[in-house]
Symmetry: C2
Subunit: 396 residues, 2 copies
């Protein structure tokens, strides 16, 4: 039988990115496309011990239904850590444990955004977020990015020009896909603009801990005296993404409703993954692990930037991230990086074309996203070399 898809889901389509990731699964292919953390840093041995012990000694806690808000000791631990690492946590804030950071975007939209309401996003932005908003029929309005984050004048213009603006979505630190970080001045300005216009900010910060030199810009949530910021965090990039474990910190008025939204969505996050994260935080020093990740990614990022300097044609512009997983690269010259990706695939290299991160994905885009966290140094250099040949040929 033919069936009719809902309006909200008909705005989504199977993305070109899925096709690209199919090629990326081929071990011969050099994938600069994904956002996978370096697997050699997963604390697998420690997590194996914990899982074994919990299931053996606490079988009912590990396997019976849990509460929707999350395992209470883990919620407390996350609260403590947010206070220390990000100065987050006002009196009225609460923490919910989520089934990955993506769920924070899904539940926030479910809770706040009617069909046709406007969600303001950085452009370019994380495709998973754009699609989470699209899947509730949100109208997306983009704000162009400067190298130090959203253009605030453009933001004010977009707010004025759009009806029912409910949410501003930002990844202020080591942005996906750009790798850039919003300045403190802009964070303050963004907060003031949102407050003045009664708009909720979703601050998505999966990469904040991955600062190469330890420098941190204060989170927007740390300034949140009004309870207007929903802070979404994740264990994916500091522990392991396959656990699908994230959290939300927001005003209690929001977390109380988000709990109901979560209950009807997946009841609660699995107990064993919550226990693995909680016990890991208790028994081991996660900051040591994070230091290793920072060093690893800083090195790989430098390797990629050096190779880009050597092999990419002159005039190609790219960001120089202070952390995170991605470099954004603009070839200019009216080049369509989606069309060009086919040539890269022929040479067994994949990247994500820039149009993927735009509201209008049909418009050709001369930029692309490169990831440095997944491949070895040798493969990063070889991949950039091959791309350099393709780009030189295309720009000629």
């Amino acid at each position: 039988m033919e069936f009719e898809i809902s309006n909200r889901m008909s705005t989504l389509r199977g993305s070109a990115i899925r096709e690209i990731f199919k090629y990326a699964a081929d071990p011969e292919v050099i994938s600069l496309a994904g956002g996978n953390p370096a697997p050699e840093l997963f604390p697998a041995k420690e997590l194996a011990e914990i899982a074994n012990e919990m299931l053996t000694k606490q079988p009912v806690l590990s396997l019976q239904y849990g509460v929707t808000e999350g395992y209470v000791p883990l919620r407390e631990k996350v609260k403590e850590r947010l206070k220390i690492t990000e100065n987050i946590g006002k009196e009225n804030d609460d923490v919910l444990i989520l089934s990955g950071g993506q769920q924070g975007l899904d539940l926030s939209t479910k809770l706040l955004v009617n069909e046709g309401d406007t969600v303001i996003v950085e452009e370019p932005s994380f495709i998973g977020a754009l699609n989470a908003f699209r899947a509730y029929g949100a109208h997306l309005a983009g704000v162009p990015m400067d190298n130090d984050g959203m253009n605030i004048e453009a933001l004010e213009r977009v707010i004025a020009e759009n009806k029912n603006v409910k949410v501003i979505y930002t990844i202020p630190t080591f942005q996906n896909p750009m790798g850039t970080t919003m300045s403190l001045e802009k964070r303050k300005a963004l907060y003031e603009v949102a407050k003045k216009n009664h708009i909720i900010i979703i601050e998505d910060n999966p990469y904040g801990e991955l600062t190469f030199d330890g420098t941190k810009t204060p989170t927007i949530k740390s300034m949140d005296d009004e309870g207007i910021v929903i802070y979404c965090g994740s264990f994916s990039k500091i522990l392991a993404p396959g656990l699908r474990l994230g959290f939300m910190c927001a005003d209690k008025a929001i977390t109380a409703k988000a709990t109901i939204a979560k209950q009807v969505t997946d009841v609660h996050t699995p107990m064993i993954t919550q226990l693995m994260a909680y016990e890991f935080l208790c028994r081991h020093n996660i900051d040591d692990l994070i230091l290793k990740m920072r060093a690893n990614y800083a090195h790989k990022c430098a390797t990629m930037l050096d190779a880009m300097e050597k092999y990419f044609p002159k005039g190609v512009e790219y960001t120089r991230p202070g952390g995170g997983l991605f470099i954004w690269c603009d070839l200019g010259n009216g080049i369509d990086t989606l069309a060009l990706s086919k040539k890269a695939i022929e040479k067994k290299v994949v990247y994500v074309p820039g149009n993927t991160f735009m509201i209008d994905m049909d418009k050709p885009c001369s930029a692309l996203r490169l990831n440095y966290s997944t491949m070895s140094d040798e493969r990063i250099i070889e991949g950039i070399k091959r791309l350099g040949e393709i780009f030189t040929e295309a720009i000629k």
Copy 2:
């Protein structure tokens, strides 16, 4: 700041059930309210061994990002098992691994139901399903239940009377909350009615394996030549609910779109829980475990029915389930079981008042749901005895 909640979520409210479950957490309280499987049957030792081994020997598989559709060997195993145990699986069917059975309801609604569209439900029905539909702004229309399932004439009338009916939701086997099973004739009739009217059926079957005497009525999905049935299954009642692991079997046209819906919701289900289920199915005989569960629940159900026979006032009607976890009990006499639950709480017994399972929760209801899977025999008998006193007093 005051914030405005979305229309879809404003139809949901923090339920009275949450209050009841707060009391149920008190170890002194006899809880006949929940739907928790018997924890003594969790195969914790086996799962501990598997988790330990997987994390140790397959750390990258266990901890890196996985694909949205689910771990391929687990999908194949579920397909195999569905064919054997339920005769499910036509050429065009596919299986997705989900983060619990609840997610099947969430994703199906996201995919198929526009705000204001009608979802037809059995009345009474599972509150988690009703709320999943409400959370997408669905209009709910109820069909009264006979002892052998939905009243089919009423179903046809409800279809005729409502606009944009997109989904019929049913728990045909050991229904929650009634414990009753839809007859084969009615299953066939329901399928024909849905087919004629171009309506998708969601067949929710979390309890089907828990048949006391081994008797099974064919699933509606097993008759599905047209690809109109979305079958939702779960590991919660046959392995452990804290794993939050379920699956959906549906026509490929539906699973392809549901995959996109899942990707924007939680990316994928955790790898370690999927691996635990897959390896358990490979290494151990889950049917042996299910046989133990059947015997355990059959015994506890009989214990509860015997106690009800002994202690409940004459004239009180209740179902006699052939499996599953619940007995539905109607006190009649214009009694409001929500109001009466306060007296039960005073005597440290909790049940779920029937109004919870209705579309209009504000209307007083003389029925209630009793669960027999969680408490010991002694506590079941003591709980029923105390309820008997309260009910006798109320009816007097």
